[in-house]
């Protein structure tokens, strides 16, 4: 196993006016390629901030974040965006699909950043929708889909560019138990059968049981690690 995520001495402090708030404090963390890690902890413990740093949408105040062999703090804003497009798939709690686009076009969106032909992009988007079991809903807009279906579309969008790492922020937080289980089983399948490394923030212990490892955060620090 090789490390896909390596954090060394990572701290993150937010400054709002005269106030500064230290959200993460001196985190050291390694996640192996192919792992499925759940990040748990109370509200304000820094879970989402840690996920944002791993996903390259935020930068640490100090320390080093290395993901997929790339030290993220060395990248410019543009290079970081291109790196995200190539290596990271994002799944959000509230799906964050573009309401004006059909399911297929939402999934195709990240492929606009590739050099694939229009036909290839469309084909790949349909394949991703098939993986999540929603090929028959490809022409529906998000408003015409249930919450679970929207999250499946969001997962399809996250995997369509074949990223190395999926970062999921409370992916089942807006879903009922049964739908949440279906989504978690889908994530498990992506991890087990497709080899995707997954880092998932969750409040839900049942959701965390689907992960291989669980990391506990509290007050900006890692406090415990368990194996499911």
């Amino acid at each position: 196993m090789t490390a896909i995520v390596k954090l060394e001495g990572v701290s993150r402090t937010y400054v709002r006016g005269k106030e500064s708030l230290k959200v993460l404090d001196d985190i050291d963390l390694t996640i192996e390629r192919g792992d499925f890690v759940a990040l748990m902890g109370p509200s304000g413990s820094g879970k989402t901030t840690l996920l944002n740093l791993i996903g390259g949408i935020d930068r640490p105040s100090s320390g080093s974040v290395e993901v997929v062999g790339q030290k993220l703090e060395t990248l410019s804003s543009k290079a970081l965006a291109q790196w995200r497009a190539a290596h990271i798939g994002f799944i959000f709690q509230f799906y964050n699909l573009l309401p004006v686009l059909t399911a297929a076009r939402n999934v195709e969106l990240p492929l606009l950043l590739t050099k694939l032909s229009r036909a290839q992009r469309k084909a790949n988007a349909l394949t991703a929708l098939e993986v999540v079991g929603l090929a028959d809903r490809s022409t529906h807009k998000p408003g015409e889909l249930s919450g679970g279906q929207q999250q499946r579309v969001a997962i399809a969008r996250a995997i369509v560019a074949d990223p190395d790492l999926l970062v999921c922020d409370e992916p089942t937080g807006d879903l009922d138990r049964q739908t949440a289980d279906e989504i978690l089983e889908l994530l498990e399948l992506l991890n087990r059968d497709h080899g995707k490394t997954i880092v998932m923030v969750t409040h839900d212990p049942k959701a965390a049981q689907h992960a291989r490892h669980t990391l506990q955060l509290d007050k900006g620090g890692l406090v415990a690690a368990t194996v499911s």
Binding site: N52, G55, I57, D58, S77, K78, A81, Q82, W83, R84, A85, A86, F90, F92, N96, L98, P99, V100, L101, R105, E108, L109, P110, L112, L113, R118, R121, K122, R157
Partner: protein, 385 residues
């Protein structure tokens, strides 16, 4: 899906709002197309005015006649190759909508000054020798169904006859054309001698003189020399190039260009505010979506370009539709106002200018939202800050 399709979908996120904004842009560019065409129609004569011709007119008011006797003094000025005269008759043929200029002229002198006007030699002889003779452009004969030999009745609105009658009758003795004219000639010409003898007042005067100079480079010098001849007389003159004369003529109803620019300026300023407000609202609503796009890997510049592209797309779409409607209406409007503005037409210059203006408008309304989108922080936007 292409980037264009993405912009199109985002643009019509709120269909009613975008459609209403689009309609206002369409109307602005429809107005632009039609008003620019009106302004062009007023100034078209300026573009085609002869470079070697000067117009001598009364210094203070174009309704004051200039004594015919000036013609001999003008002819003697150094550099003057030829001189003739004309007058504004006004008058109505059958109906006010049948508007065309009617000039009493010296037949041979007038055609000598306008070599671009071609007339059969025999018809010019007939025009010069027939006291009530008149000639008209060939297309006017076709338009009104006139034939050589017809008597054309004109009801005077300025010049009654000595017997108090307002009905003038002219015998159509010929037709003329213009070689390679951008705008076909439109003057109905008749004998000055007949007009001057028969009119009730103003005898011995003319409206303006037309001077051909031997060397166009000396036009300004010759114009000064002509005006100097009559400087301290009751009939002082003001000599200008034909282009300036055409401009003054157009400006009798006001500075057309300035009026059109004023109206269009107000329209476009309003559209600018309206469209900018629409784009700003659209941006505010889409901040989380734009943050998601950045999360997916769209760079700051790409997101800004998409937002700017939407504004340009909206304005260009509105501009193209507006100018398209103007082009569609052009034929009907031109027919309806041909008596007043015979050269009304939507030019390619107006279409090109309008399209360019649409792009500029799009950039103007989209620039600030694009810059805001560029600066958008993913983390703050996803948190809802």
């Amino acid at each position: 899906m292409s980037h264009l399709a993405l912009m199109w979908s985002s643009l019509f996120r709120r269909k009613a709002r975008t459609t209403l904004t689009l309609l206002s842009v369409v109307i602005a560019f429809l107005l632009f197309g039609l008003l620019r065409s009106v302004a062009d129609a007023f100034t078209v004569g300026i573009d085609i005015a002869g470079v070697d011709r000067l117009i001598v007119q009364p210094k203070y008011s174009i309704i004051d006649p200039v004594p015919m006797a000036h013609i001999n003094q003008i002819a003697r000025v150094d550099g003057v190759a030829a001189v003739t005269h004309a007058d504004w008759f006004g008058g109505i043929y059958q109906d006010r909508s049948n508007f065309f200029p009617k000039y009493p002229v010296d037949p041979r002198g007038y055609f000598a000054l306008y070599p671009e006007y071609t007339i059969d030699a025999a018809q010019l002889d007939a025009f010069a020798s027939t006291r009530t003779g008149a000639v008209a452009p060939a297309q006017m004969l076709e338009e009104f169904g006139w034939k050589i030999g017809d008597r054309i009745p004109i009801e005077a609105d300025i010049w009654p006859k000595k017997d108090g009658s307002r009905l003038w009758e002219f015998e159509l003795v010929g037709s003329y054309d213009a070689i390679g004219a951008e705008v076909p000639p439109s003057e109905f010409l008749f004998q000055y001698d007949y007009f001057d003898e028969a009119r009730q007042f103003g005898n011995g005067g003319v409206g303006w003189f037309i001077v051909r100079v031997a060397d166009p480079a000396k036009s300004a010098e010759i114009a000064r020399a002509i005006d100097a001849l009559f400087e301290n007389s009751p009939n002082a003159t003001r000599t200008a190039t034909e282009a300036e004369f055409a401009m003054q003529f157009a400006n009798q109803v006001g500075d057309i260009g300035l009026m059109m620019t004023g109206i269009l300026g107000a329209v476009f300023f309003t559209i600018l505010l309206l469209t900018a407000n629409t784009m700003a609202q659209a941006l505010r609503e889409r901040i989380p979506e734009l943050a998601v796009m950045k999360t997916l890997g769209f760079t700051d510049a790409q997101v800004a370009a998409l937002v700017l592209g939407e504004a340009v797309l909206l304005c260009v779409l509105g501009g193209v539709i507006g100018l398209g409607i103007a082009a569609f209406l052009e034929g009907g409007i031109a027919t309806a106002i041909k008596g007043i503005l015979p050269t009304f037409a939507l030019s390619t210059t107006t279409i090109a200018t309008g399209t360019g203006l649409a792009v500029v408008l799009g950039i103007a309304v989209g620039l600030l939202p694009a810059l805001r989108a560029r600066r958008l922080s993913i983390v703050d936007a996803l948190r809802g800050h």
